[in-house]
Point group: C2
DNA sequence: GTCTATAGCTGGATAGAC
DNA sequence: GTCTATCCAGCTATAGAC
């Protein structure tokens, strides 16, 4: 855990409810809408509790970020350990659930030092976990490591996927079908047809 | 111009100063810091002038966005019309100048309807201008259009470039050198060595 | 743990003088 | 075009009762 907890147990239901409310507010109305009053109001709590549990708004943001990052890191680790790791990784990165929240944190992270540091550390962890697994996976499939460095393969899968999802969040999809077909074609050449794919959450309609 | 102007000439120096101040504030402190009082204060003006010129804060945001989008679109059109269009396009997309501002608008655009619409329209225009030029460029270099659809080439150049810049904005660069070498190698194979490259602005250090 | 009350500040937006 | 004055609302954060 990268942030200091002011008060209250880690598994306090009040604490959890406040984090839930803050996350929802960020997604629905943006980080600027996350005030102690509005977070508490949505959670059916009193505003002073935000300060009791988190001390400052920055620490509340960090709690939201860390919880989401941990969950996503676990999902990714599970994907990389599956029997079709490339398909599983691709499906995990194509998940639109976090896109709106990511936009908020990217903006927030450029202006709140502690949030920016958490983003850098978290992204680094994701890439490190991917990089630990990729060489073994590619070797198993007989991919020439000189022609396709693991880090490059990851940028083409994870990086391109993230860019496509950002565009899709704004209704842009020029070339997406072709790009997705290209990447999935490469995965198919290595792993064959996907045997079981998790249903992939798409972006919600704009309000 | 996609936004309604409340009052004042398009070339009013006061109007320009307010847009300048708003843009600076967005980059330095985020969209939440853009208030009529702070914008006016930075421009050495009175807060009421913001409402005189723009009517609402939303229209001020639109003015900032539109001005930047127009400038960037011109720079891209110039690049695509140059004698080494792929190198020029690559250099234009590798420009870090706008990354911080883009983060702000991506977040803002998900919550302010008119801003979101402006982003969608602007990105669509960028891609359309690129797509108008690419087929001719690739054909001139003898690229097989069936293997490399123009839209896919653009996602690999423009899309990947944008993703790399977002990572770099947070100090992340795993695999970047290799990815850049891969893309530049492809460009070099088609256009040879770059003859004249504009100096590429990099991200500023964090404060 | 949860509450009320409060200090001190900042915000969007308008009315109306000059 | 530019200003002051103003309304009403919202904000972070703390003190202290229960």
């Amino acid at each position: 855990m990268a942030f200091a907890r002011r008060n209250g147990a880690e598994d306090s239901s009040t604490r959890t409810a406040l984090i839930d409310a803050a996350e929802q507010l960020m997604v629905e109305e943006g980080y600027a809408a996350v005030s102690s009053r509005r977070v508490a109001g949505r959670a059916g709590m009193n505003a002073a509790l935000v300060y009791y549990y988190f001390g400052t708004m920055d620490d509340l943001f960090l709690a939201v970020f860390s919880r989401r990052a941990e969950r996503n890191l676990e999902a990714q680790a599970e994907a990389l350990a599956s029997d079709q790791p490339l398909w599983a990784l691709w499906d995990v990165t194509r998940d639109q659930t976090n896109t709106a929240l990511n936009f908020e944190f990217l903006a927030l992270g450029k202006h709140r030092k502690v949030v920016g540091a958490a983003i850098t550390e978290s992204c680094f962890n994701f890439r490190r976990v991917q990089l630990d697994a990729m060489p073994g996976i590619l070797k198993r499939y007989g991919v020439d490591a000189d022609a396709w460095a693991p880090a490059v393969v990851l940028l083409l899968m994870d990086g391109m996927s993230r860019f496509l999802m950002m565009e899709e969040a704004f209704g842009l999809d020029i070339g997406h079908t072709e790009m997705i077909a290209l990447i999935e074609g490469q995965i198919r050449a290595l792993e064959g047809e996907p045997r079981s794919r998790k249903p992939r959450p798409r972006a919600k309609k704009r309000a």
